[in-house]
Symmetry: C2
Subunit: 393 residues, 2 copies
């Protein structure tokens, strides 16, 4: 299948590209390299060294014999986007080309405006490009479980049947996102649903949980194929960050009470979920939503698991509760449905001891590169003018 | 009260500014004059001649003795917006500075991108300006009943209690908007609700029905105080358009079956509703939603009312069903709650014979200026590349 991967140079996009290429698909990566630019902007870096996109693709050719095509461009540049759609005639497009950090979107007004413009208008351009150049193409769009917030009822997969005053309807599940980033994904979802309706596009909106892990079958084959390992306050997700903190001998920083429950998924399952969506496309005009996670944990449960496992490496990790820089419920009901990808064939890699140990081990190997200044939160949801200075490493 | 009116030069913004000024409020208009620019872009014009903003304000000073301040600027220009917030220290801001035509947003990709960027990012800038310069200021934001779509259950005012699997929660009412314009308002609503939550802002989101009429107590006092009368396919709303068609001897153009039911409101009630919202502000951190309309009609009912009333002027208006250029249900359940503004004191001006006659009479007076080419729909929801050329008058 001809597959276009928007954002194929990122943390998820790169292993996704490798995985689909390994399955024999013709993969083209379209990426503006913005994730690398954000590192430069903030003085961050992946804990595991990563290669340039060109070096990555060359290494993959060497290892697998497969050629991944590259097109450097921005979804905000419609001419560039239209050209890659016209030239590659994709049968599926995986859209990972969004600014994906909640704290980044909350730094200040400029970062909020950038996030919403880039994500919402970029996606609008993708929708127009599909309609114009590849109307049968299946859009696989990464959303987030954070679109739902933490309602007091069960979270369903995109839609819910509502009984009201003696009548009923199946309606889009109400959204209560909690950052300008999460909001941008909600805006996307509404725009995509509308385009499926008016133009007959096919789309799968994958509301993904927090991804952990840095290895897949493909990335393990050569150090040059590694994907990012972010542990910083802006791009590091909870579990990766805890492992880095444990390895470096810093306390595991839990925001607030730590009873915040979220869905989590292993990177190996993410790449498989997207393949499952691609190989069972929706009907013409169909907009479907899958909740893409495999397990639920509270923050403090995660921290405790990491602390426990760290002992095997002789580490004594402490858990430290910080004032919560986010505005979010710290104790809440949470029960989210996630059966549709299982029905399509997903066999989850659950978060067990060996997964945790391999992550901690990775972090230990890079321990001398861990910079504590990058970890502690400085972006506060309640403050508008909180432009944080780039931290020197 | 110090009131800032964003978009105070528009169809609603101008009579709103006059009304609030007449009540003794200190009114400042912030407007980029874009509505006049859209006329130039498309070769349209208000059927009733309107004055420049400066002439309008001077005439109002002459008539009433009241001074309305003017600041020419764009919500997309944060420096300009911040300056007017800092200098005027508004206690309430009425936000009417959005591109407000559904067909305009559907012309092509550029117009969709313009509409969503201008509306969503412009509103994001307004939210940041409030937080930064006037955190106690009450945001009165114009939304649209079109955010809800046409669900098979009753439409409530912004929120709905959902019972689900033995639990319940009060949640944002699910949105199913039907144009890139309507979508932009949904995006705004989510962004505003979030800012109330994280920053403690106060906001009233007014989901307004289709507005008809062109006169208020204030505009009647001097011809120079008139507001716009749009009858064209892009900016003319249904009732105004039908009256113009009847006056000019053209068939009343009903899209599709004409069983599309919508909420309607008289311009005189709109200006009053906004005053009611301003004078009973929400609490700190409160995001509230009022449905701002007074009656429901189907399109064909409206056309029949106009046809009937036209007879009194010796006109024989025909009703003509056109292929529907929009993608929308043409026969559907519709029952929308609208009690909160009534509870605050709204006494509706309902759509009766004399209102219709005055509108038809106005259109008859300007009959020789009505251009049929401007009326017939050329923007089709199903077609992406349908840039319409400006029509020569």
């Amino acid at each position: 299948m001809r597959i276009l991967i928007l954002g194929g140079d990122g943390y998820l996009g790169w292993p996704q590209s490798l995985y689909l290429s390994s399955k024999g698909h013709h993969v083209t990566i379209f990426d503006n390299l913005s994730r690398r630019h954000f590192d430069l902007e903030r003085g961050f870096n992946s804990l595991i060294p990563i290669q340039t996109l060109h070096e990555r693709v060359a290494a993959w050719k060497e290892v697998s014999g497969q050629q991944i095509q590259i097109s450097i461009g921005d979804t905000m540049d419609y001419a560039a986007l239209a050209t890659v759609f016209r030239d590659t005639q994709p049968e599926a497009v995986v859209h990972l080309a969004e600014q994906r950090s909640a704290p980044y979107s909350m730094i200040d007004r400029k970062h909020a405006v950038f996030t919403q413009t880039n994500n919402v208008i970029g996606t609008l351009n993708v929708l127009y490009a599909i309609k114009e150049f590849a109307p049968d193409c299946h859009l696989v769009k990464l959303g987030t479980m954070g679109e739902y917030g933490t309602p007091n009822i069960d979270i369903e997969e995109g839609f819910i049947e509502i009984q009201h005053k003696g009548r009923s309807d199946i309606m889009p599940y109400p959204k209560q996102p909690s950052s300008f980033y999460h909001l941008s994904k909600v805006h996307d979802s509404h725009n995509i649903m509308f385009c499926c309706k008016i133009w007959g596009l096919r789309a799968t909106d994958l509301n993904q949980g927090v991804v952990y892990g840095v290895e897949t079958t493909e990335t393990r084959q050569d150090a040059r194929l590694a994907t990012r390992f972010d542990y910083d306050q802006i791009y590091g997700t909870a579990l990766n960050r805890f492992c880095a903190q444990a390895a470096a001998g810093y306390p595991l920083s839990v925001y607030g009470k730590g009873q915040q429950i979220r869905g989590y998924i292993n990177l190996m399952d993410t790449v498989r979920c997207i393949e499952l969506a691609i190989t069972a496309p929706p009907l013409e005009g169909e907009y479907r939503v899958f909740n893409q996670f495999t397990e639920q944990f509270s923050l403090v449960e995660l921290a405790e698991m990491v602390a426990r496992r760290s002992k095997r490496f002789g580490l004594e990790a402490q858990i430290k509760h910080l004032p919560n820089p986010r505005v979010e419920a710290e104790r809440h009901y949470y029960n989210a449905s996630h059966t549709r990808l299982i029905e399509l064939g997903l066999e989850p890699h659950l978060l067990n001891g060996s997964v945790l140990e391999s992550l901690i081990e990775l972090a230990i190997k890079q321990r001398e590169h861990i910079n504590r200044n990058l970890i502690m939160p400085s972006v506060d949801w309640r403050i508008t003018k909180n432009e944080i200075p780039p931290t020197s490493p």
